[in-house]
Symmetry: C2
Subunit: 369 residues, 2 copies
C-alpha cells in the first residue's frame, strides 16, 4: 500500500445562512488552492463530495465550478460519517495508485435530510437520535453510576473549548447550571447535551508521498484507518453502555498505525450527545471502562484541551456531511502546530473518531506528522 | 497495485414494479451468496450502494438486510455512471489492500430523480437529456452525413439483441419502420432512439487475487480503468460530434491494460440514445471517425453481437444506478462463456463504457479472463 498524506485543508464558519450548498463547498475549497504552493486545478485527479443533501451530480458540479477536470468524481453518503467515508475512499484511490491527488469536500445545510433515519418508520417519533442518546445514557448510568452532572460536564467543556475556535457555531460559554437547566428532551438528554445541526463545509487535499513533498513542507500522514458497520438500526447494539463499531474500528486503526491510546496526543471524537464522548473515551482506551465521566471532569478542571479542542460537535456544531472532515482539519492544524489558542503543545499523533446513527457505524483515523 | 477480480454477479429483471428499492437490491445480491462457493457474509469487507434515489444510509440498510457487517459501507452517486463509479471505488479498496472482498450493488426506480440535471435550471425544458442527444445528432449529421435511418439502425439492432436477454425491459422486436415512425421528440430524436428508465438492480462481488481463487474457478480480472470528468454542464463539450471524456477514459483504460480496440472481443457501451452508440464506437477506436453508422449496419447485417449483446440501454432498459453494473455483469457472463444465446464466441477481453449527462463524465473498464 502506498503512503498518503494530507497537504492542505479548508473550512467555513459553522452557522445558519442563506448560502446554497455549492457556494458553501466552494468557500471551503478556496483556501486549499490559495495556500498550497505548486497546486493547479489540473493536478487534481479525484473530487469527492460528502453530504446528505439530495443533489444529483454534485461532485461534477463542484468540479466545474472549481475549474477541475478530475478523472474520478462522485458523491458519498453515509449519514454523519459521510465525511470520513469520503476521505478513506480518497485514501484508497491514492494508496492503490489509481490517483495521485484527491480533493474531498463535505457540506451540509440545516434543511438537508439525514438527521432522522427514515428507515426506522415503525418507531414513529422515537426515530429521532435523541432517543438512542437517551438509551445510551440510561445504560451508562445504570451500569457505571454516571450522573446528569457528569453528562453536563462534557457540554460545558466542549462549549468552553469552542470559544477558541473562530469557526464554531456557538460563540458563548455555558455554565454547568446552564446545561443542567436547559430544556429537558428526555429524562436524561437536555437541549445543551445535543450537538446542533448547522450549515458548514470542510475540505481536505490528500495525495501520494511523491506529491506530498511538492505541495507541503510538513504533510500529515494517515497512518491508521479503521471502519466498521454493525447495522443500520440502533437495536442491533448488544451493550448499550458501549459502542461495538467504535471498538472494532479503533482496534483496526491502532493496529494499522502500530499505535495505541497512550501514543495519541490529541483527539477529535464524535460527541453527537454528551454521553457519546464518555462512552467513546472508554471504548477507545483513553481511560478504563466506567471512568469516562471522571476523565472528562479532569480535563475540564485542568484546562486540558486534548479531547475535542475545537469544541467537538457540541461546541462547534454538526453539519453532517462536513463533520468528519472538519474533525480531520482540526487534527491537521493541531499536528501542524497551527491551532492557535486551541493548540495542544507538541502534538505529534492525532485521532479522529466519526460515527453515524447511534454508532451503528464508525470510522477511526490515526494521523501523524 | 494489487490485482482485483470479479468473482460473482447478480441481476434482476428490468421492468416497472411496485417493489421498493431495497427489495430490488436484495434480489440482485441473493444469487451472489447462492452461487459463490465458500462465501459467507462475514467475508464481505465493503458494501457500496449505487443509486440516484434519495435514501440516507442505504448501504448500511442493505448490509443489515443482507446479514453483512462490513468494514466500509456508503452510497455512491454520479447520475448514470454511479454504477461504474462504485465499482472503481471498490476496486481501489481492494487494490490498495484496505479490503479483500467488496460487494457493489446498484439499483433504480423509475420515480427516482437523476434523469434531469436540476443544476441547469436556466435551460427550462431543455434540461432534458433528449436535447443534448439532439445536439449530438445534429452535429454528427452535419459533420459526417449521418442519417435518421443510420440512427434507427442502432435501435433496431439493440432491440433485436435484447430478445435474447431474459432480463431486458423490452421483449419484442422493432423494425426499421417502427423506429423511423415512432413519436418524434425533436427533429432527430424519436421515442425509440431513447433508452427507457425502468426499475432494476445489478450486483458485483470483487476481491483480491488471493480470495479470487477461493471463490471462483474463472475470475474475471479488471485490467484497465479510465475515468474522466469534463464538466457537469453539457455546454463545455467542444466538439459535439465527439465525446471528450470518453476519449480520455478509453485511452487511459487501454494504457493501463496494455490493450487496444483491436484486442476487444465484446463491448457494453452507453447507448442512452441511438446517436451515442455511433459516436462512442468511433471515439473508442472500433472504427474510423465518421464510420460509426456503417459499422452498426454491418453488425446488424451480419448478426454480429459484439456491441451491446444484452441489448444495450436501448433494448435492456436504463435503471440509472444499476446500468454500469449491469453492463459489467454482461461482460462477465460473456467472458465466462455463460451468455447463452447472446454469447460472442471465444470472448476473452471485454470493454464497458458507462457515461453520464451527455458524456460530461465517462468510465471505461477493460475486463479479461
Amino acid at each position: 500500500m502506498k503512503r498518503a498524506a494530507i497537504v492542505a485543508t479548508g473550512l467555513t464558519k459553522f452557522n445558519k445562512t442563506e448560502k446554497p450548498l455549492d457556494s458553501i463547498m466552494l468557500s471551503a475549497i478556496k483556501p486549499i488552492f490559495e495556500n498550497t504552493r505548486n497546486l493547479d486545478q489540473k493536478d487534481v485527479d479525484v473530487v469527492l463530495t460528502s453530504t446528505n443533501a439530495n443533489k444529483n451530480y454534485l461532485a461534477n458540479i463542484i468540479s466545474e465550478l472549481s475549474g477541475i477536470k478530475p478523472k474520478i468524481s462522485h458523491s458519498v453518503e453515509s449519514l454523519c460519517n459521510s465525511g470520513t467515508n469520503s476521505l478513506v475512499s480518497a485514501y484508497a484511490y491514492v494508496a492503490s495508485g489509481l490517483a495521485e491527488t484527491a480533493l474531498v469536500v463535505g457540506a451540509e445545510k440545516t434543511d438537508n435530510p439525514g438527521l432522522v433515519l427514515n428507515w426506522d418508520v415503525s418507531r414513529g417519533e422515537f426515530r429521532h437520535p435523541i432517543f438512542w442518546a437517551s438509551m445510551f445514557a440510561s445504560a451508562h448510568m445504570r451500569k457505571y453510576g454516571t450522573s446528569l452532572e457528569d453528562l453536563a460536564y462534557v457540554s460545558v467543556k466542549n462549549h468552553k473549548n469552542a470559544l477558541d475556535n473562530p469557526y464554531a457555531y456557538f460563540e458563548k460559554p455555558f455554565s454547568l447550571d446552564d446545561v443542567m437547566h436547559s430544556k429537558s428532551l428526555t429524562e436524561n438528554v437536555r437541549l445543551l447535551d445535543c450537538s446542533m445541526p448547522c450549515d458548514g463545509s470542510a475540505a481536505v487535499l490528500i495525495c501520494s508521498e511523491e506529491k506530498a513533498m511538492k505541495y507541503a513542507d510538513n504533510p500529515i500522514w494517515i497512518t491508521g484507518i479503521g471502519q466498521k458497520t454493525i447495522s443500520a438500526s440502533f437495536t442491533k447494539n448488544d451493550d448499550l453502555a458501549s459502542m461495538e463499531s467504535t471498538k472494532t474500528a479503533v482496534t483496526d486503526a491502532y493496529k494499522m498505525s502500530n499505535k495505541n491510546a497512550r501514543d495519541v496526543d490529541v483527539v477529535e471524537l464524535h460527541d453527537a450527545f454528551s454521553v457519546c464522548e464518555i462512552i467513546e473515551l472508554e471504548d477507545m482506551g483513553f481511560c478504563q471502562k466506567g471512568q469516562g465521566s471522571k476523565f472528562v471532569r479532569d480535563l475540564y478542571d485542568t484546562g486540558n484541551k486534548k479531547i475535542n479542542p475545537r469544541g467537538g460537535l457540541i461546541g462547534a456544531g454538526h453539519p453532517l456531511g462536513a463533520t468528519g472532515l472538519a474533525q480531520v482539519v482540526e487534527i491537521c492544524q493541531q499536528l501542524g502546530g497551527k491551532a492557535g489558542k486551541r493548540q495542544v503543545p507538541g502534538a505529534k499523533t492525532g485521532l479522529v473518531h466519526n460515527m453515524s446513527a447511534g454508532s451503528t457505524s464508525s470510522t477511526v483515523l490515526v494521523l501523524e506528522t
